[in-house]
């Protein structure tokens, strides 16, 4: 494991990029997911279709393909972004589709009576959604959202295809310089675990805190 210890600063640097990328993408994915889920449960047909098409297209494409198309293909139509920004956009758009489906599932768990009661009080669609439905819906899907967050941490490694020097690409660099793949990648696997395991524990705590007690 000497290779890992000798290159600890580089691994830490890669880990930093992975963490920043994951957090930035999660903010984007969550925002996209909530908006798209609202489209899909809302009363306006064109938006429902738009939301459904977005989810189906993005969810059924491999992430690597999205990365390559956005980074290497989009410059020909005039959209050129640096690697980090590209990675945030692609991961947000990709994870956003899954968040949307999860939030929609959560919305379906909210009892009909809640919506009817809110409407009878005179609340409009956005108020019903924002004040009554979403707070309850999100609480019921904390677990699945946590799985998506953990998947996002691991998916962020695909950004190596566009040359973003995050944890996996850092490992690849060190492994090639030293010709010691197994120790390096074992060390990096542990680094990913160090990110995902506490996330899982933290989620358990959050889930209990926000649980709806009746």
């Amino acid at each position: 494991m000497d290779v890992v210890l000798d290159n600890l600063d580089r691994i830490a640097g890669g880990l930093g990029v992975t963490v920043t990328l994951t957090l930035a993408s999660w903010v984007g994915a969550f925002a996209i997911g909530v908006v798209v889920a609202s489209f899909r449960v809302g009363p306006i047909p064109p938006l429902r279709v738009l939301g459904a098409s977005y989810v189906e297209v993005v969810r059924n494409c491999p992430l690597t393909v999205l990365f390559v198309v956005f980074f290497f293909g989009f410059p020909s139509i005039g959209i050129t972004q640096p690697p980090f920004t590209s990675a945030v956009i692609v991961l947000s758009v990709y994870t956003g589709a899954f968040v949307a489906e999860t939030v929609r599932a959560g919305v379906n768990t909210v009892a009909r009576g809640q919506v009817e009661a809110a409407r009878s009080l005179g609340l409009g669609f956005t108020q019903v959604l924002g004040l009554v439905v979403l707070p309850q819906a999100l609480r019921s899907v904390v677990g699945p959202l946590g799985s998506l967050f953990s998947a996002l941490i691991r998916n962020s490694s695909v950004a190596y295809t566009i040359g973003l020097v995050e944890l996996t690409l850092t490992a690849n660099q060190i492994a090639l310089e030293t010709a010691q793949f197994v120790p390096v990648f074992t060390g990096v696997a542990l680094a990913y675990l160090a990110l995902t395991l506490p996330t899982g524990l933290a989620l358990g705590v959050i889930e209990r805190r926000v649980a709806i007690r009746r």
């Binding site: 410059p75 190596y160 040359g163 690409l169």
Partner: protein
């Protein structure tokens, strides 16, 4: 679905494994270079010392050689025939011919990052894959050769708008190379101020340069020549000022000195009798100006 009782699992897996291994060798995979039997020269079978790797390969009648399937001029699948072609492939065929003219070569794809492990685990008998000889790699495997010495050079947009003349000029520029190559390390050492970008494929770097995202692409000159051929001389040009030497060797399992000296002897033979030069001219020579002198074999 009915669940399979766990006591069945082991026998079932064993049977499946037997199937997999027994079927594996019957069918030649696509990319198999059938050398044996098609040559005009029907030499009698060479004799090898008993217990040597060469004797074992001769007895088996097949050898597995790792090469690249996407390396223009060295090892690339021909889309029409499905066979892998290039200088590395020809070198492998010339070496194997000396082990036994009837030995069939099974080429398998070994990208840069799996070459050592493929040799160590025995999934290939040798690797001929633009494989630069260096000390870190020698810790794990041995190298015969070199059979070719490339040099790292720089490719720029045609007309060289930034006037890059050598490695020093890369400081402050955006330079691209491929992940897992020694080229990246060389640029970092020799031009510490360069902003290095790395992608999985050389064509990614070429696309990035065409789109103006990087100023230069740096790797072994022969690979750059292949890219110029692919994209067109009106798009890219090679600076032509190599700043490293990259000796390409044949990777074999560590400690097999008998096999190593056998391959080295054979390389010297083809250097001397012109077969090496002929193989070069058929492949790399189609884009480079003149055929170089063969390198000196390094018997360390």
């Amino acid at each position: 679905m009915k669940r399979i009782p766990s006591r069945w699992l082991t026998p079932v897996l064993v049977v499946l494994a037997l199937f997999a291994t027994s079927c594996g060798s019957d069918e030649p995979a696509p990319g198999t270079g059938a050398r044996g039997g098609d040559g005009g020269e029907q030499a009698q079978a060479p004799e090898h010392p008993e217990g040597s790797t060469m004797a074992a390969i001769q007895a088996a009648g097949t050898i597995t050689v790792g090469t690249k399937f996407d390396q223009r001029l060295f090892g690339q699948t021909n889309p029409r025939t499905g066979e892998v072609e290039g200088f590395d492939v020809e070198i492998a065929e010339l070496v194997v011919e000396a082990i036994g003219p009837e030995v069939e070569i099974d080429f398998v794809e070994t990208p840069s990052n799996i070459r050592e492990i493929a040799i160590e685990e025995g999934t290939v008998d040798m690797v001929v894959a633009t494989y630069t000889i260096n000390d870190a790699r020698k810790e794990r495997i041995d190298f015969a050769g070199p059979y070719y010495v490339a040099g790292q050079d720089i490719m720029v947009p045609a007309g060289n708008p930034l006037g890059i003349g050598g490695v020093d000029d890369l400081n402050g520029k955006r330079v691209c190379s491929v992940q897992g190559s020694t080229s990246i390390t060389n640029v970092r050492e020799l031009a510490p101020e360069a902003q290095v970008t790395e992608f999985p494929l050389y064509t990614n770097c070429a696309d990035a340069m065409r789109d103006g995202r990087v100023d230069a692409v740096s790797t072994d000159n022969v690979i750059l020549l292949g890219l110029v051929e692919q994209y067109g001389a009106e798009v890219f040009e090679v600076v032509g000022n190599a700043f490293t030497t990259e000796p390409y060797g044949i990777g074999i399992p560590k400690g097999d000195d008998q096999l190593r000296s056998f391959i080295n002897d054979r390389l010297e033979e083809i250097f001397a009798n012109g077969e090496w030069a002929a193989a070069y001219e058929r492949t790399v020579g189609t884009v480079s100006e003149e055929t170089p002198q063969p390198p000196a074999v390094d018997r360390y």
